[in-house]
């Protein structure tokens, strides 16, 4: 129910802040999405869409954190093993 899916914003349509929409590409499936809660979203950004509404924008810099964290904990484990 709280599912939200990331998709690429391909165009932004004009509109007042509450009804501003954009077209979002979900790997080839295109949908019109409300952008009222993602005022910062620009074309090419990935927005997180729930129930037809963008509830956020994916932070590109943070997206690699899952792998960075894994590298950090693996590194510290290796160091522990060598102690």
């Amino acid at each position: 129910m709280c599912l939200a899916v990331p998709g690429k914003l391909t165009s932004i349509n004009a509109g007042d802040p509450l009804t501003r929409t954009g077209t979002v590409d979900f790997s080839g499936i295109f949908m019109t999405v409300n952008l009222a809660f993602a005022p910062e979203a620009a074309v090419e950004d990935y927005v997180l869409v729930h129930a037809g509404i963008a509830i956020g924008t994916i932070n590109k810099e943070e997206a690699a954190r899952v792998m960075q964290y894994l590298a950090e904990i693996s590194q510290s484990a290796t160091e522990d093993d060598h102690r």
Binding site: M1, N34, A36, G52, I53, I55, N59, R65, L70
Partner: protein, 374 residues
Amino acid sequence: MKYIDEYRVPRAAEQYVREIRRITRRSWSIMEICGGQTHAIIKYGIDRLLPKQLRLLHGPGCPVCITAAEHIDQAIELALLPNVIFCSFGDMVRVPGTSSTLLVARAAGADVRVVYSPLESVAIAQQNPRHEVVLFGIGFETTAPAIAMAVQQAQMLNLKNFSLLSVLALVPPAITTLLDDPANTIDGFLAAGHVCTVMGYREYQPIADKYGVPIVVTGFEPLDILQGIHMTVAQLERGAATVENQYSRAVTAEGNLPAQKLIRDVFQTVDRNWRGIGSINQSGLALRPSFGDFDALHRFTLGRSHSQPELRCISGLILQGRNKPHECAVFGAECTPEHPLGATMVSGEGACAAYFRYRQQKIEPGGSIKDITK
């Protein structure tokens, strides 16, 4: 798909599992709040990869599951009124109320329409000015902005034929209710990522402080969940109890401020009855008086629901993490997704439906359960 497939790499998952095993010294029970996380855990078998000392408890974060039968009875009564078009999310139409479902009401002639977005119900109201359009507003903080937006758009469009039956619920009061229970065994939480995309996570720190539990905001893909578990176990093993954010690509501490503002503008908090758990103080969202014209409970006079709990169903215990689905005597036998006795078997995110779908468990004669995938 980008930002999905990267978090499903088996080698990285194996490495995460090794690291979790490496740091786990004692026994811990960790609850994932969100039904979407439960679904992923069971689908990918994450619980089976963990060391034996770690127990994952499935939480109450499934809006379909916790919507009280009395509210489904109200929805059915509204849908059966002449001239009403009743709009609902798809999952909700099959959930049993006291004695019926919205799907049965539709078969009896009610105009029940499944919508993907609450905004569709506003368009339906515009297109059908001679009908009353009622939206069944279910969900948690993730969905509240979309429903608030539907109401605000209806107000801006001056629609006189649109109303909302709000049963929106809030997650943090449910967490404190679980922790206040003397029988509580939860040591740490994976908080629901998309709830926090909207709300941020500052409201969780006082809970972590008061109850001494780590709370890690966690995403929904396998690597997200494994990292969330690692972060939680790392805190537990070193005796820490703070809020951390695993899902930083989609969650900030302050959350989505425009969405929060609209929620506050449109809704006020009220007590809410959670199916299987009972009433939780200030855990629901109802329309503010300034939006009273859009409240279906004001617009229509409804009878009183006499909901009786289904005695054979233990979904209340399952939603509190006390029991696992296969510990229920009727699981997979009298209760299946085709003939559900409780909401946890109806919703795709319900723990019972997830176990039924992915675990292929069957009841052996005498009530013991054999997992035929082993």
